[in-house]
Symmetry: C2
Subunit: 468 residues, 2 copies
């Protein structure tokens, strides 16, 4: 493959330095790259691996393992260094590195001077700049969060879009977009400009490249100041997995929005229907996954996300409309910020617990209603975020999931993998451990038994099991 | 991005057809592509989305949702079709499709004729060809499998290399390679040629492109006849996840070899050390993951893999050397083919069970020995493959993991995610839920507590818990 030609095809500025040891040529290429401000730059350096080790240069042996004592001696001789030295830093390198201290100090002083002059000239802009770099949220940001009427079903992706657009005027540093799915994932800031070569707007269009998008989010977060988000269908998080992992390793607070989050996306079928993606993401260290159950929980999810600054968050949203729960009947959505909370409590206290996430919480509520009619008292726990729930004090966790209530049923239209942890040995897991199918969402939920009737039957079974 | 130029940079044969409705130009390009036998071909067709729908052509609206009744009417009018037709197949298309039956029958007859003549001319080669297409394994293949001396520790990646090379002469259709890591993953067939433009050998060098490699394996498996394998470090299965999923959806029996399977790879550090990858893969429907504990289990893993024909297998192997268990003291490695088996049984029957996979099985055996010295009787179960174990009859599963023995400890140097299922509420999981570190393997296993002493302490704790 001709790497230079490939990057030219991407629209990059490409330079070639044929001798990778020609320092003057490298410096010239770096300077030319700095002059180029409208495109990213690639400098193709040609070097020989292991040069000048006489027996190993140009071979794979010089890559994966140490050269070995003999080859090190020979290499030092070729370089004119003392072959018997155990730890050698050539004088030339040492001198240059020592000078780096004063060079760095001068650059730092110049920077502070610039900052001081900027702060004097533009006190408000400077204060905002500082707040951004410190990761402070603007005053009153929570007041800007929208609320949603209970009589209008709305997809959580659409609720999220409203949250994003409500926060946008207060948070000019909240910037992002999608991997060619802006209309579907609800990630356009209305009235804002696109980020394009001629125009530095806040709406980003990354094209069908989830990995590149997420790598770009990582770079933006590593730079700091901005709060970057990207989006695509949840199933395509597969393509972003490697860069999500780098975000987690580096504690970068990027927001990855994955919509069309289950078989509920319907007709596009198995290639587009996530099954194992949430397990894949929950298994990753230092990654937080949130799957809100309705519009109100979506607001709380954004609340939690913006306050989370130590790693990536994946926000998992539906394509299909969901009811907005009547919070005068059920608990306040705020509980979502603790990862899991008691959404509905039966009079007389629970015999069983239904635990659900996202679009399946409505199924759990309906199942609890069915059970109540036959005198079976089931609590419903909405659990949008395992990771936040794990961080709660034990007393809170035991309050939501009392150890003595072992009759538990989880409902999530995704792989059952990992759920045994929450339902325990005596519990049942309602999930889907095969690929989906192409059909309207309602039909799929019925075929794959994500129904109140089936959930209620599982509760009866685990109660039966607990008795025996 | 200039897609044509990008594929030219990859070395592809690229043609452009500017009018995607110019059927003659398309046919000519297809014929030119068929003439080109040394490189893959790309034909860049330029079309307008939704053409000729008058209000929606060239817009995103023509992509994700139906045109709608009015636009369908207008489009039909433009095409000269009856706008009131509910289901219309133009006569021209119908006639051509009807002719496809006889065209296909003629092609099929010609093919069968060719096959018959080939079988008469080359009966042995034809028999082999048929056996390959039917997925039959050669007679006596199991006799060719190597065995390993117990006094010579060997990495499972190296054991796997020996298995592959032992099978190679019997199975010329066992072909594959690596994503730029052939030396490290042990996937070179010795003495065989490379697959190159001028030479159709059996060793493939895919370069650093795990996704492309796995997509190629899928294509080879979909074609049939060959048994393709690819390899890289296990952590880079992240890059292959999307194409592994397509293998699973399509039930393609590819073999994906992931070596350097834990913190045990040592110095390369957290970016190279898998943590959550096995959970990610185990959560996927119709994918089988095998992590053998020693050289003998590696042989059994290959045995199981070659007999598995309905989906992808990921074979997970160590970088570091492992002891070869003394099977006169422990159970035969054959049990690995049932997914999990009792490797070591204490006299007097078990009070507790240690369940481990791969390189941690030796830790479990050593922990059981420690415990035995204090009179605690622990069974050791080696569990190289969850999926195969799940498929065993309940009686076998209950024999290996008797429900009444709730004092269980799992040991796997990977994310704990999913393990609760096997250890139950009363058990303990020894795993690693954070990223790794750069250090020699032995140091990391000690720092992260994958030691016989710590495993034994966890067994004591779960036994204590069971009592209380």
């Amino acid at each position: 493959e001709d790497v230079g030609a490939r990057f030219e095809a991407y629209g990059w500025h490409v330079q070639h330095v044929d001798d990778g040891n020609d320092l003057a040529a490298i410096e010239a290429a770096c300077e030319a790259a700095q002059q180029e401000t409208s495109r990213p730059s690639l400098i193709v350096l040609r070097t020989v691996i292991g040069n000048p080790a006489p027996n190993k240069e140009g071979t794979a042996e010089a890559h994966g393992s140490p050269l070995g004592a003999d080859e090190v001696r020979l290499t030092k001789q070729i370089l004119g260094w003392d072959p018997d030295s155990k730890f050698l830093v050539p004088e030339e390198a040492l001198t240059d590195c020592r000078h780096a201290i004063e060079r760095g100090a001068a650059l730092e002083a110049a920077w502070h001077d610039l900052r001081t002059r900027y702060t004097e000239a533009y006190p408000e802009a400077a204060a905002e700049f500082d707040a951004w770099l410190e990761g402070k949220l603007p005053d009153g940001w929570t007041n800007a969060l929208p609320s949603f009427p209970i009589d209008k079903p709305i997809a959580t992706r659409q609720a999220s879009e409203k949250v994003l657009n409500a926060l946008a005027p207060l948070m000019p540093n909240l910037i992002g977009g999608s991997a060619d799915l802006a209309g579907s994932t609800g990630t356009q800031i209305k009235g804002a400009k696109n980020f394009e070569p001629e125009e530095v707007g806040r709406n980003f269009h990354w094209g069908v490249r989830e990995h590149g998008m997420t790598a770009a989010l990582n770079g933006m977060a590593a730079h700091g100041g901005v709060r970057p988000y990207g989006s695509t269908f949840l199933v395509f998080s597969d393509y972003a997995k490697p860069s999500l992992r780098l975000a987690a390793i580096q504690s970068l607070p990027i927001v990855f929005i994955g919509t069309h989050d289950s078989i509920g996306l319907g007709e596009d079928g198995p290639t587009h229907q996530p099954i194992e993606q949430m397990a894949m993401l929950r298994a990753m260290p230092n990654l937080m996954l949130m799957r809100p159950a309705d519009a109100a929980e979506t607001v709380e999810a954004w609340h939690a996300i913006l306050e989370h600054k130590t790693g990536p968050v994946v926000l998992v949203l539906t394509r299909q409309k969901l009811p907005v729960f009547d919070r005068s009947r059920y608990a306040a959505a705020e509980g979502a910020r603790r990862g899991a909370y008691i959404l509905s409590e039966p009079e007389g206290g629970p015999q069983a617990i239904l635990i659900a996430t996202g679009s399946e919480v409505q199924v759990a509520l309906a199942a609890a209603d069915l059970l109540m009619k036959e005198g079976i008292r089931a609590r419903v726990v909405s659990m949008p975020c395992w990771e936040l729930f794990e961080q709660q004090p034990e007393a809170y966790r035991d309050q939501v999931l009392p150890p003595e209530i072992t009759a538990r049923v989880s409902i999530e239209a995704a792989a059952t993998f990992g759920w045994r942890r929450w339902v325990g040995d005596a519990g049942a897991i309602l999930g889907i451990d095969h690929f989906g199918a192409s059909a309207p969402a309602a039909r799929l939920f019925k075929e794959f038994q994500f129904t109140p009737e089936h959930a209620a039957e599982l509760v009866r079974q685990v109660l039966e099991g607990a008795k025996s």
